[in-house]
């Protein structure tokens, strides 16, 4: 029986492959929608895991989370300096990390923060933490070597902005990968960002000069390691006096700073977290758990997934209908062959089993291939999206997917019974009649 089925499939391999491909692609569409939405959701949730509570100046909560967790550049209002000072001395707070943005170099956002951020985000993998105002630590995905230098550019990533030509950063360390957009960021001391911007006051907006970002990290490769470092030290002293100055953390507390757009707070306990959220949700500040904003976004995402899911199911239904028609036609066309099987003594159950197994094998093969293709496509897509956004997107099957697979197999069993029953009902004499 199996050799007969195999011979039959081999003989019709073109039609079989087309049906297989159609089933596989329509299944892959549905699988990809589910997996991609899940990857986005899990990826963003994991990216936000290190951020317990974010405090910012009154404005959009969503924008605050997108900017501080996902580093989506947007002009955010600044918090008054005393908010940071108050948070840093609050006994309910374990760490309160300032996050300042607005500059970039190449496609990498430059984030002004403190050394605590490096620890909170997984620590240094290579090199050391920043000690001087001119030191920078790059994210795991930034391809620069330790020891290279760059000028920050004011504005947002990917656009031409004003080059802070008088400011020079030296890369001293690289962070461990943590699967968040911070992997693509360059971290510098917040004090240095404040300095840069107090110098530049008066022409804060994007200048008309349209200068290209001047990252000259490649040039460093030409120099020998130690000599270069030495040369550079002198160079830094000459051009901008502040770059080799040790970081002074008192500025964080004494209020003599322009303020920051966001403060990431790690409370000591859950109760503290809720108290702090309550306390900083009034007057000129907002405090949010990134989770609550993400939940809201997932709601929207879920709706989109729902719509895409309906489209995918509709496509699958259309494909199923078309394939069923093809199979039914084929069974009618094979009328004589099936009649001959009966005439030679194959019982009706055997004929039913042959036709059913044959069509089921093709469709089930298509469904399985579809899961594999859907997984592969999502993996590739998640990789590209992840590389672009820095959010690591986990593509994974859950046990619920087994039920989906089972349901699709169930549907396939029922669908393929139809042609099998057509074959079952044909009498051999009828079928053989020319």
């Amino acid at each position: 029986m199996f050799s007969f089925i195999l011979a039959d499939l081999r003989r019709n391999w073109i039609g079989v492959s087309i049906v297989l491909l159609l089933v596989a692609l329509s299944t892959a569409l549905g699988v990809a929608v589910t997996l991609q939405e899940r990857a986005l959701r899990l990826g963003s949730a994991r990216a936000a895991a290190a951020f317990d509570l974010v405090v910012g100046a009154a404005g959009s909560e969503t924008q605050l989370v997108l900017s501080s967790v996902f580093l989506q550049a947007a002009p955010l209002p600044l918090l008054k300096p005393d908010v940071l000072a108050r948070l840093r001395t609050d006994p309910r707070v374990e760490t309160a990390i300032p996050v300042g943005f607005g500059d970039f170099v190449g496609n990498h956002p430059i984030i002004g923060t403190t050394r605590e951020a490096l620890e909170a985000l997984g620590g240094i993998a290579d090199g050391e933490t920043f000690e001087h105002l001119g030191d920078a630590v790059v994210g795991a995905q930034v391809k620069w070597k330790i020891g290279s230098t760059f000028h920050p550019v004011h504005g947002s990533a990917g656009q031409a902005g004003e080059v802070h030509a008088d400011v020079d950063y030296l890369v001293v360390g690289r962070m461990a990968a943590n699967g968040t957009p911070w992997d693509r960021a360059i971290l510098v001391p917040i004090q240095s960002v404040w300095n840069v911007h107090s110098h530049d006051e008066g022409h804060q907006s994007l200048g008309p000069e349209e200068q290209m970002p001047q990252a000259h990290h490649d040039a460093d490769n030409a120099h020998g390691g130690h000599d270069h470092d030495h040369d550079h030290e002198t160079h830094r002293h000459d051009e901008a006096g502040h770059t080799a100055t040790p970081i002074d953390d008192t500025a964080l507390l004494d209020g003599r700073n322009p303020g920051v757009p966001a403060v990431v707070v790690k409370p000591r306990s859950i109760a503290d977290a809720y108290n702090l959220r309550q306390e900083y949700r009034r007057d000129a500040t907002i405090a949010v758990f990134p989770g609550e904003v993400l939940t809201r976004l997932y709601g929207t995402l879920g709706d989109a997934r729902h719509v895409l899911g309906i489209i995918a199911v509709a496509v699958q239904a259309l494909v199923a209908a078309a394939i069923l028609l093809v199979i039914a036609l084929q069974v009618l066309q094979r009328r004589r062959q099936i009649g001959a099987l009966r005439a030679f003594g194959a019982s009706r159950p055997v004929v039913l089993a042959i036709v059913w197994l044959e069509t089921f094998a093709v469709l089930a093969g298509g469904v399985i291939a579809g899961f594999a293709i859907g997984y592969g496509v999502t993996k590739a897509l998640a990789h590209r999206l992840g590389a672009a956004s820095g959010v690591a997107m986990p593509v994974e099957f859950h046990s619920a997917d087994l039920w989906t697979l089972a349901a699709m197999f169930g549907a396939t069993v029922l669908l393929t019974l139809l042609p099998a029953l057509i074959a079952y009902r044909q009498s051999p004499a009828q079928a053989l009649r020319p």
Binding site: M1, S3, F4, A7, D8, R10, R11, R336, Q337, A340, L341, R342, A343, F344, G345, A346, S347, R348, V350, S427, P428, A429, L432, R433
Partner: protein, 223 residues
């Protein structure tokens, strides 16, 4: 092998929408091991008679029995099983299955009718194929000549050692030489096994070699 004698009484076959009976046979008896030709013009009911006698079609009325097996009292499933065990079929259009080898084609009905091949079945298939002059047992059926195909079909009909061999125009689609070879094989092999041979044919050379001729006209036997 079981010896099968036929007894038919008051056979009546009607098709929906046709006022005249397609077959109307008051009585017919054949002895086990007889070689019988069934002749008659197209549309005279030859194929219908073959279908009824092999249990592929249920008559509207009457009784058909092979030995003690009363086909007209059986369900469709029972008739399928009876046919699988007692009838070897050779048809004008061969109905061999492309994609399978000569040997697999010979064995296919046995495989489909039983859960596993009886011991020695493969051996007898091999010797039968050798007997009908097929040398390459693994040759795909679609690469064979028509004469070779019909000889494979003869081997397939005989491998289960059926008590009844039914051939519907076995030589009609073959040239004279190949037709004669097939006719020889049918007669020899059914003679050797003692099977009842029933051949519907227009081929006078084949008809002349069979012991008895039943002539059908408009669904009735002329004798």
């Amino acid at each position: 092998m079981r010896m099968l004698a036929l007894s038919v009484e008051k056979l009546d076959v009607r098709f929906p929408g046709l006022p005249v009976a397609a077959l109307d046979i008051a009585s017919l008896a054949l002895a086990a091991g007889d070689h019988i030709a069934v002749t008659g013009p197209s549309g005279s009911g030859k194929t219908t008679l073959m279908n009824v006698l092999t249990g592929m079609e249920r008559p509207s009325g009457g009784r058909v029995a092979w030995g003690a097996d009363e086909l007209t009292a059986m369900t469709e499933t029972q008739r399928d099983r009876w046919r699988a065990h007692n009838v070897g079929l050779v048809m004008q259009e061969f109905h061999l299955f492309p994609g399978l080898s000569a040997l697999d084609n010979v064995l296919l009905p046995q495989k489909l009718a039983r859960y596993s091949l009886p011991a020695g079945m493969k051996e007898s298939a091999r010797s039968l194929l050798a007997r009908v002059g097929i040398e390459r047992l693994d040759q795909p059926i679609e690469t064979m000549s028509r004469g070779q195909m019909q000889r494979v079909a003869v081997a397939r009909a005989l491998v289960g050692r059926p008590g009844l061999i039914v051939a519907d125009e076995p030589t009609a689609s073959l040239d004279a030489e190949a037709g004669e070879a097939v006719a020889d094989l049918l007669l020899e092999l059914s003679g050797e096994t003692g099977a009842t041979l029933l051949v519907a044919s227009h081929d006078s050379r084949l008809i002349d070699r069979l012991g008895r001729t039943l002539r059908l006209e408009n669904g009735r036997l002329l004798s």
